[in-house]
């Protein structure tokens, strides 16, 4: 790593770390203060100005979809990831997992250097040493086909082709391109029906959306584009399509549905056939346990809806059959070409291997037929059921090489580790949609000098090999890549700023076997033993487990259950009552394959006959680990398992599953019944949820599509203080009192001689503005991307790790601080249930998501109570929190009706504390424009004031005014539903003023006369004909 970045790093550490401590102990700001050193660059980098951000367009590799990224870098370090507006996939939006890529880059558990296993101990070695060892390994692996196995994370682009050519050159079979989250059945069905593995879906065009467990908002397929499109569809309000969700469990997608048909796992096929008219409704009803009348109604709706959009994401043994049946329905309803655009396929998933292929490879290992195995970016030891006995089989391979950057279960079993670069440090490409190449370029120098891009490692190995040196002449992967990309260097140079270029990559050597292999078929679920159907599903946040070592993702509450830093067992409240199980009681779930113990969570959204356990947690190390010392920064102290943040967290639900694949060779996640029993233990679930009901307080309001054009809007009687929303005082003027013309001196109230900077005529003229925000609940799906965006933009500390509690006589539990409600999420996503009030457990309950953040009230209750003016009202309408003035009386929080103020209970921002939230190098991600808060101060949403100031500064330099919609807040920027609009409500040219005029607009707790600057637009419900949507 060059001195250049090195210097920069030192400088940045100084800036932020001292920043943290002096924000905390500003009394030290006296003559004795050590102002530190100024470390200049040796040679100033081109086209970067210190203190001004540089933006690089690149490609996201957090999941297979390959969205476009804009990486903001400052002084040589990437500090924020945002969506690339020009990208055909995500159009500028980005999901939580994509943003958390930054914490992969700066993960404190990253391997600093290559390591080799000697005996039981790991030894750090130099890169070239590692490369030598690798060439020897390759020498062993070469020869007989099938003697080597390369498991690579599935990614679109040129690298797989490069990899295969390299493997071929060494006489090794093509690699397996693995994605544990992919839905093989759906892809197989797509290929058979539409000829593409993933068509893009147009919800807008649909008249009716029916999903058979297809969680297209949770990560099923390309979730960001799907969510963008779905939000657009719902934004058509009364013209929007109704959405019916059919499945045993109501996932995040399910919660967004207007109607839920709860069915037994395995009965989806019957229902699909019934809806298609191929089977009797009655049989379907009996098989699924659903209400026949409801099914009949949906069948008729479906037959009427042309086109409809029916999706299947079933994970049972009959997944492929359901997918095919559903495809048939689509074709019948004329969906192809209207709602299912097979002409514009999403090509990211092409050439993905299937689980049965992986299992076949595992069997070869077990049979000692494999001489060398490589793993890169995949973790089969965790993502395959224990029944696959991967570890034992893997042990039979003499040479096991891992290119993983982080400790994980599989890497721990390897003999050689050559840590890969992070995608933000390396070159690459992808073809997310046909005809568009998405470029991936390094946004900064590698964080650790000891790491090296796998492609470059392979090149180096090839160069050492007499036979292949010639074939791989390229000096590095970048040159190789540029030589293959269409258009050559000039075109690439032109494309890089936008991050995308037209053209197609060469057809990849497909790694999909033609027909399913002889992998074990899953048993029919009904045949297995147990009282309940066991549903396991990949967590929408952590995936199958790959996100578990990113504190942002651990801290991000599960969008459905609002639980963080934990695993849980969902069971129906009735079941819970019957078993005498309360929320948090530890239950034991038992199947033929094994048992797990986890806290129980009574959840309305699960079928009475089913229980559900999320995947993603339960990482564990093969060896016994000493307890983690947060202050021990020694890199050799490797956190085996899955890194420090995944330590001792939750359970691995796959332990319960029998090994089985479906017709398409995908792993079956819903394949067995389980029995459940209560243990004596209890554990408070670390949840951000207080009450799941809004007790008719009108926080999340909704309106029926039918009532939209109905003047008296009947649902309003029940909502307290629901006034006429044509008048939005909070948004109209920076200070509500000004709207009342009372701002000013005691003597002359309306002359206001004391207005000072609040005087609109003041030369400093801030009062021209009123920063405000609208949030459209009809669009919001509760995906929580905005929450992570807020964490990333505002240096919000994560507080859930088990060592982030007090030192003496304090509990050390993961999520302890969350149990105590001490999470710091400036922007939180509330999830309220409506209908089915306690004791009545029907399926017809409604869910409302409300992003809740500081409302920047014109009459802010928090302001007058602060004894030191640490919070006050800025003339441009912001409710400001001044960290360095705050003494921490917490009175403001007591007086805040919205409860959006958060307190630094510990020194989360102070590097010398065990509670420190940004252990090196995680602190590199800190936004230099935002103060890192020290302990004992209050903090809250600032409407991204740093972005406001940045825009104002830019405008001032260019001698102009801030342009309408010139910038926006982090949450609005990231939102994949485009539900948030930010801007200047005092200026009609900003789009926020247009949106706020909507008929659905309301303020939360308007009766408190707080004149908030945040306007919510009511959610729009599409209840089944006859049924009235619940009120709240």
């Amino acid at each position: 790593m060059s001195e250049k970045t090195g210097g920069g790093v030192k400088r940045r550490e100084f800036l932020k770390v001292v920043g943290a401590s002096s924000a905390a102990l500003a009394t030290a700001a006296c003559a004795a203060e050590d102002t530190g050193k100024l470390i200049p660059y040796l040679v100033s980098p081109d086209q970067t100005v210190p203190g001004v951000s540089t933006y690089y367009a690149t490609t996201c590799r957090e999941c297979a979809a390959a969205c476009g990224l804009i990486a903001e870098t400052r002084d040589g370090r990437a500090i924020k990831l945002e969506g690339n507006p020009d990208h055909p996939l995500n159009h500028g939006a980005l999901c939580a997992r994509g943003q958390a890529g930054l914490q992969g880059l700066y993960n404190p558990d990253r391997f600093r250097t290559p390591m080799v296993k000697e005996g039981d101990a790991w030894k750090a070695i130099a890169l070239d040493d590692a490369i030598n060892r690798l060439s020897q390994a390759v020498a062993q692996g070469r020869g007989a086909a099938g003697n080597a196995v390369f498991l690579n994370q599935h990614e679109s682009g040129s690298f797989p082709r490069f990899l295969d050519s390299w493997l071929a050159a060494f006489g090794m079979p093509a690699h397996l391109s693995v994605d544990a989250e992919a839905d093989a059945a759906a892809m197989e069905a797509n290929r058979r029906t539409y000829g593409v593995s993933w068509p893009s879906l147009d919800f807008k065009a649909a008249k009716l959306i029916v999903s058979f467990g297809a969680d297209f908002l949770d990560g099923w397929g390309a979730s960001v584009p799907q969510q963008l499109n779905y939000a657009e569809a719902r934004a058509q309000l009364d013209a929007a399509p109704r959405f019916v969700y059919i499945g045993p469990r109501r996932s995040l997608t399910g919660l967004n549905a207007d109607e839920w048909i709860a069915c037994n796992p395995g009965s989806e096929l019957a229902i699909a056939n019934a809806l298609a008219g191929k089977g009797s409704i009655q049989d379907a009803a009996t098989a699924s346990g659903a209400d026949a009348a409801a099914l009949q109604r949906i069948a008729t709706e479906l037959s009427a809806a042309k086109p409809a959009l029916v999706l299947s994401g079933v994970t049972g043994d009959n997944a492929l059959d359901v997918a095919l049946a559903v495809a048939a329905i689509n074709q019948a309803s004329g969906a192809v070409g209207t709602t299912i655009l097979s002409a514009q396929p999403i090509t990211s998933f092409d050439g993905m291997s299937r689980t049965d292929q992986v299992l076949a490879a595992v069997e070869r290992m077990r049979a000692k037929q494999v001489g060398v195995a490589f793993v890169r970016g995949v973790n089969p030891a965790h993502s395959l059921p224990r029944a696959a006995k991967f570890a034992e089989a893997f042990a039979n391979v003499p040479v096991r090489v891992s290119f993983s950057s982080y400790p994980d279960e599989t890497t721990e079993l390897c003999t050689l580790i050559i840590p890969d670069l992070h995608s933000l440090e390396s070159w690459g490409d992808a073809e997310p949609v046909r005809g568009t190449i998405s470029l991936q370029q390094p946004t900064m120098d590698p964080v650790f000098a000891g790491t090296m891009g796998t492609a470059d490692v392979l090149l180096a190995v090839a160069k050492k090999d007499a036979a292949n040196a010639a074939k791989f002449a390229a000096t590095d992967y970048r040159t190789w890549l540029f030589s293959t990309l269409p258009g050559g260097d000039k075109a690439i140079a032109a494309a890089l700023p936008k991050g995308i270029m037209a053209g197609s990559l060469g057809a990849r050597t497909t790694t999909v076997a033609a027909a399913p292999t002889a992998a074990p078929k899953a048993p029919a679920i009904a045949a297995t033993q147990g009282d309940f159907f066991l549903v396991t599903y990949p967590s929408p946040v952590l995936g199958e487990g790959r996100g578990a070592n990113k504190p942002w993702l651990q801290e991000l509450p599960d969008p459905v259950t609002k639980i963080a830093w934990s695993s849980w067992v969902e069971l129906h409240p009735e079941t819970a009552q019957r078993l005498g199980v309360d929320r948090g009681d530890i239950v034991e779930v038992k199947t033929a394959q094994g048992t797990v113990r986890a806290p129980a969570l009574p959840y309305l959204g699960i079928h009475k006959n089913a229980i559900a356990i999320p995947l993603g947690q339960g990482h564990r190390s093969a060896a016994q680990m000493a307890t983690f010392q947060p202050k021990n920064h020694d890199p050799s102290n490797v956190q085996w398992g899955y890194g420090r943040y995944a330590r001792a967290l939750g359970v691995q639900a796959l332990d319960l599953l029998p090994l089985g694949t479906d017709g398409a060779g995908g792993l079956v996640l819903t394949s067995t019944k389980a029995s459940i029993s209560k243990t004596g233990d209890h554990r408070t679930l670390p949840s951000t949820e207080g009450s799941a009901r809004q007790h008719g307080r009108g926080i999340a309001q909704a309106i029926n599509a039918a009532d939209l054009n109905n003047p008296e809007r009947p649902e309003h009687e029940e909502i307290p203080g629901d006034a006429n929303h044509a008048f939005l005082p909070g948004m109209r003027s920076p200070v509500a009192a000004d709207a009342q013309g009372e701002l000013g001196s005691p003597t002359s109230a309306n002359q206001g001689i004391l207005k000072g900077m609040y005087d609109p005529a003041d030369s400093r003229g801030m009062t021209k503005r009123r920063w405000a925000m609208t949030i459209d609940l009809a669009r919001c799906t509760g995906c929580s991307a905005c929450v992570t965006a807020c964490y990333a933009e505002n240096n919000i500390p994560t507080v859930g790790a088990y060592w982030q509690n007090a030192s003496i006589w304090a509990d050390e539990r993961p999520g302890f601080n969350i149990e105590r409600g001490r999470e710091m999420n400036w922007l939180r996503l509330e999830r309220y249930f409506e209908g089915n009030l306690d004791g009545k457990f029907g399926v017809d309950f409604e869910t409302r998501f409300v992003p809740m953040l500081c409302q920047h009230c014109g009459n802010a209750p928090c302001e007058p109570v602060c004894p030191v003016y640490a919070t006050y009202h800025a003339p441009d309408g912001l409710n400001v929190q001044v960290y360095n003035r705050c003494v921490g009386t917490r009175y403001c929080s007591n007086n805040c009706p919205y409860k959006v103020r958060y307190f630094n209970w510990f020194g989360y921002g102070e590097s010398d504390r065990k509670q420190y939230a940004f252990p090196e190098p995680l602190n590199w991600q800190l936004n230099p424009d935002v103060t890192v808060r020290g302990k004992g101060v209050m903090e809250k949403c600032t409407f991204c004031v740093q972005r406001v100031r940045e825009a104002e500064n830019r405008a001032a330099l260019e001698h102009r005014d801030v342009r309408p919609d010139e910038f926006t807040t982090a949450c609005a920027q990231a939102c994949p539903s485009r539900a948030i609009t930010f801007g200047d409500a005092a200026d009609p040219n900003w789009s926020v003023t247009q949106v706020a005029r909507d008929r659905r607009a309301y303020h939360v707790f308007e009766e408190l006369n707080t004149y908030t600057a945040v306007v919510y637009l009511k959610k729009v419900n599409h209840p089944a004909a006859g049924a009235a949507a619940p009120r709240g």
Partner: protein, 230 residues
């Protein structure tokens, strides 16, 4: 009588104590004003600015376009100093001269000597920071520079400082009083050391149009907390 005078002394003491408190509160006791640390290389601002007439922005290159004023890279120093500088071989311009400070620079930059480029073992120069506001204060240099505020207004007449010292107290009160009362181009130029007639000429005034100087109107700035603290 004596008793009376004696006990009147008591309230007197109280008054004294109060006075002391107020004095200490207003004195710059709580700032590092006038601090003047020794630098790794004793960089002579006067020579570069006064004698050679270099613009501040030559080295502090981003002061007018970034919150960060910018610090000259070592290469910037070497850029000139492997050609010119007091260490000069004897020519017809004059006898050979050498400078101890320059040797230090060459050591840092790992330069063999005059004419040689930077070597592989070059290290950045660990300058001791002097003017520093706490991390919770955001001071955008470019806003001030572009508003025509002369560097000297805050940093003092660096061009005359053999060793740079902290000129202003950098207290919050110091910042705010300028934001509230406003900045007058005239006073700024005086602070920069321009004489009255120099001020008239645009060249001398730099960014400042002489008009402002004549009018003497004061540029005010926002003074609410969130302007600098966020």
């Amino acid at each position: 009588m004596t008793q009376r005078r004696k006990w009147t002394a008591i309230p007197g003491l109280v008054v004294l104590a109060a006075g002391a408190v107020i004095l200490s509160a207003y004195s710059g006791a709580s700032s590092s004003q006038h601090r003047s640390p020794v630098q790794p290389i004793n960089f002579p601002h006067p020579v570069h600015v006064q004698k050679l007439g270099m613009n501040c922005l030559y080295c502090h290159f981003s002061a007018n376009k970034s919150p960060d004023p910018g610090l000259p890279a070592v290469s910037t120093c070497i850029g000139c100093h492997n050609l010119v500088g007091p260490q000069r071989p004897a020519t017809d311009l004059g006898p050979a001269r050498t400078s101890a400070e320059l040797q230090k620079l060459y050591k840092f930059a790992d330069v063999a000597g005059m004419g040689a480029g930077m070597g592989p073992k070059a290290k950045p120069i660990p300058w001791v920071r002097i003017h520093k506001v706490p991390e919770y204060v955001h001071f955008p240099h470019m806003r001030h520079v572009n508003a025509g505020v002369t560097c000297q207004t805050c940093h003092g007449q660096i061009q005359n400082m053999d060793r740079v010292y902290q000129f202003s107290s950098l207290n919050m009160g110091w910042c705010v009083s300028c934001h509230v009362n406003g900045y007058s181009a005239k006073e700024g130029l005086e602070a920069a050391g321009y004489t009255a007639q120099q001020q008239a000429t645009p060249a001398a005034a730099g960014a400042v149009a002489p008009a402002d100087v004549q009018s003497g109107e004061r540029k005010k700035a926002r003074y609410d907390c969130a302007n600098c603290h966020y």
